[in-house]
C-alpha cells in the first residue's frame, strides 16, 4: 500500500517551506546583482562578498559553539547578512573592512539580541552604518565602472555637492554604469532578484512599493529647484533605494507584522530617505531611514495590531 495512508495529529497540510528554504531562496535572488557587481567592478567585488559571508558565518558559528547553543549557520541567514553588507560597500575597500563589518553586523546586529528572529535592526545595515562612521574615507571612495583604478563619485554625491549632473542618462542608472556600491548599482539585476521573491510569495508589495513611491513623491514635490520640479526617476534609480526597498526593508524580523503597519513603515522610510537626501549632510539616507524605522517598528506593531476575533 505504500505510505499513502499516514496517521498523525494535525496539522495535516504540509508545505516544503521552512526558514532555510526562504533564506536560501533570498540568497539565490541576490546572485544576479552579485554577478552584475562583478561584471561592473571586477573580481574585487567577488572577494569582498566572499570575505563578508565567510566572516559572518564564522562569527555566528563561533558564538553558538561558545555559548553551547544550537548551530544554525546552515539556515542561510548569516550568508544573507554577509552578502547584503558586501553589496553596500564600494568595490575598492581593503579586505579587512568587510570582515570587521560582518563581525560587527552579526554581534551587535543579531547575536546580542538572541539570534535569528530576535533582532530589532537589520544586521547588514547596522554593520554598514558602523563602517561608514568608522572609516569614512574607505566607505566613500568609489571606483569607476569597468576601470578599477580611477575613482568617481556616485550620482547622489555629485547631486549633493550641487554640481550639474552633466546628465547621466537614465539607462546608465538602470544598468549600473556609474560609481556606487557593489550591489546597489545594477537596478536591472536587482529587479530580477526581487521578481523571484515576489513570484515565490516571500515578499509582499506593501513595503517596497510604498517606500519607493513615497520617496519618489517627496522628491518630486520638494526635491527640485522649486516645488513640483523634482527629478523623481533619477532618485529612484540612484543610490541604495532599490536594494534597500526590496531586500533590506523587507526583513521579516525587523519590520511590522500587519499590512497596515508595513505601509506605515514604507511611508516612514520614504520620507526619511527623501529628507536626508534633500537636506541632510549625507548624499544617501536609505541605511539611516531603514534603521530608524526598525527602531519604530515595536511601536508600529503595537498600534496596528489586528483585532483578535471576539475581543472588543
Amino acid at each position: 500500500m505504500g505510505n499513502n495512508l499516514l496517521v498523525s495529529g494535525s496539522p495535516h497540510i504540509y508545505t516544503r517551506e521552512s526558514i532555510s528554504r526562504i533564506m536560501w531562496t533570498v540568497v539565490i535572488s541576490l546572485i544576479p546583482a552579485g554577478i552584475a557587481g562583478v561584471i561592473i567592478f571586477g573580481w574585487d567585488a567577488l572577494w569582498i562578498t566572499l570575505a563578508a559571508v565567510a566572516a559572518a558565518v564564522s562569527t555566528e558559528l563561533i558564538f553558538e559553539v561558545l555559548t553551547k547553543k544550537k548551530i544554525t549557520v546552515l539556515d542561510g541567514s548569516a550568508v544573507i547578512t554577509g552578502i547584503l553588507l558586501a553589496f553596500n560597500l564600494p568595490a575598492g575597500v581593503p579586505l579587512w573592512l568587510p570582515i570587521v563589518g560582518a563581525v560587527f553586523s552579526m554581534v551587535v546586529g543579531k547575536l546580542v539580541f538572541g539570534g535569528l528572529g530576535q533582532n530589532i535592526f537589520n544586521p547588514a545595515l547596522v554593520g554598514r552604518v558602523f563602517l561608514l562612521a568608522s572609516w569614512p574615507k574607505y566607505m566613500t571612495t568609489f571606483t569607476k565602472p569597468f576601470c578599477d583604478t580611477v575613482t568617481s563619485a556616485t550620482p547622489l554625491a555629485i547631486l549633493k555637492e550641487g554640481k550639474a549632473l552633466g546628465h547621466i542618462p537614465y539607462w546608465d542608472l538602470f544598468i549600473g554604469n556609474h560609481g556606487g556600491c557593489i550591489g546597489e548599482v545594477c537596478i536591472l539585476a536587482l529587479l530580477i532578484g526581487a521578481a523571484i521573491l515576489f513570484i515565490k510569495g516571500y515578499i509582499s508589495w506593501h513595503i517596497p512599493f510604498t517606500y519607493i513611491f513615497t520617496t519618489g513623491l517627496f522628491i518630486y514635490v520638494f526635491g527640485g529647484p522649486g516645488l513640483f520640479k523634482g527629478d523623481w526617476l533619477f532618485h529612484i534609480l540612484s543610490g541604495g533605494l532599490i536594494l534597500g526597498a526590496f531586500f533590506m526593508a523587507t526583513d521579516y524580523v525587523a519590520t511590522p507584522l500587519t499590512a497596515r503597519g508595513q505601509i506605515i513603515f514604507g511611508v516612514g522610510c520614504g520620507v526619511l530617505t527623501a529628507v536626508i537626501r534633500i537636506w541632510g549632510g549625507y548624499p544617501e539616507g536609505v541605511s539611516y531611514a531603514i534603521l530608524m524605522m526598525n527602531a519604530a517598528t515595536p511601536f508600529i506593531d503595537r498600534y496596528t495590531k489586528n483585532r483578535i476575533y471576539g475581543s472588543r
Binding site: 570587521v100 551587535v108 558602523f130 562612521a133 568608522s134 572609516w135 569614512p136
Partner: protein
C-alpha cells in the same frame, strides 16, 4: 581598622560606582574620549566627593531632615564652583575639553548618592575613606573606558601612537561608540560575576 580599610576598598571593585552601582554615567560617557580628559574629570569629581562627604558628615546633626537634600546640594555646589574656578584658572584647556560636564558634577548621582546614603549616617573618618574610595573607583573606571575609546578611536593613548599603520575606527570617539563600549564592558563584568556564583 579593618573596617576603615574596607570603606576605602569597596569603592574600587566591589561597589565600583560605574560598573556595579551604575551611577554617574552622563559624564563618564561624555568625557571618556581621551585618557587625559578621563583623569581630569576623575580628579575633579574625587575632590568634590571628598569635600562634600566630609562636610556633610560633619554637619549631619545640624541639618533638619526635611531639607537635607537641598542642603547637600548647596554643599556640593560650593565645592563644584571651587573646582570650576580652579580649573578655569589653572588648566583652561582641560576646562574647555570637559565643557558643561564640570558644573554637572553637582547633579552627578555618585556625589549626591554617597552624601545621602553614607556621609549623613557615618562619622568623618569613614565618610572620608568612602568618598576617597568611590572617587578612585570612578577615576579608574573612567581611565579604563577612556583608554579603550582613545586607542580604538584614534590609535593613540595619552597622545602617543601605539601601533603603526593601525587605522582607527572613528566611531569610538563618537557617542555611539561610547554607548557600545560601556554596554559591552558592563556585559563583560556581568559575565565574570555570573561565572563566579
Amino acid at each position: 581598622m579593618k573596617s576603615l580599610v574596607h570603606e576605602f576598598t569597596k569603592g574600587i571593585i566591589r561597589e565600583n560606582p560605574t560598573f556595579v552601582l551604575v551611577l554617574g554615567l552622563c559624564p563618564t560617557l561624555a568625557v571618556s574620549v581621551s585618557v587625559v580628559n578621563g583623569i581630569g574629570m576623575g580628579i575633579a569629581a574625587t575632590f568634590v566627593l571628598l569635600g562634600s562627604s566630609m562636610i556633610v558628615s560633619l554637619v549631619k546633626n545640624f541639618i533638619p531632615n526635611k531639607i537635607r537634600i537641598p542642603c547637600f546640594i548647596v554643599i556640593i555646589a560650593t565645592f563644584v564652583t571651587i573646582t570650576e574656578l580652579c580649573m578655569k584658572a589653572y588648566s583652561p584647556v582641560l576646562d574647555r575639553a570637559l565643557g558643561i560636564y564640570v558644573p554637572l558634577i553637582v547633579v552627578n548621582c555618585i556625589v549626591l548618592g554617597r552624601a545621602e546614603a553614607f556621609a549623613c549616617k557615618n562619622n568623618l573618618a569613614k565618610s572620608f575613606l568612602d568618598g576617597l574610595g568611590m572617587g578612585v573607583g570612578f577615576t579608574l573606571a573612567l581611565v579604563l573606558i577612556s583608554a579603550i575609546r582613545e586607542f580604538l578611536g584614534s590609535g593613540q593613548i595619552l597622545g602617543h601612537t601605539l601601533i603603526k599603520g593601525f587605522e582607527p575606527p572613528f566611531i569610538f570617539g563618537m557617542p555611539s561608540g561610547a554607548l557600545l563600549v560601556i554596554g559591552l564592558l558592563l556585559g563583560f563584568f556581568n559575565l565574570i560575576k555570573n561565572k563566579k556564583t
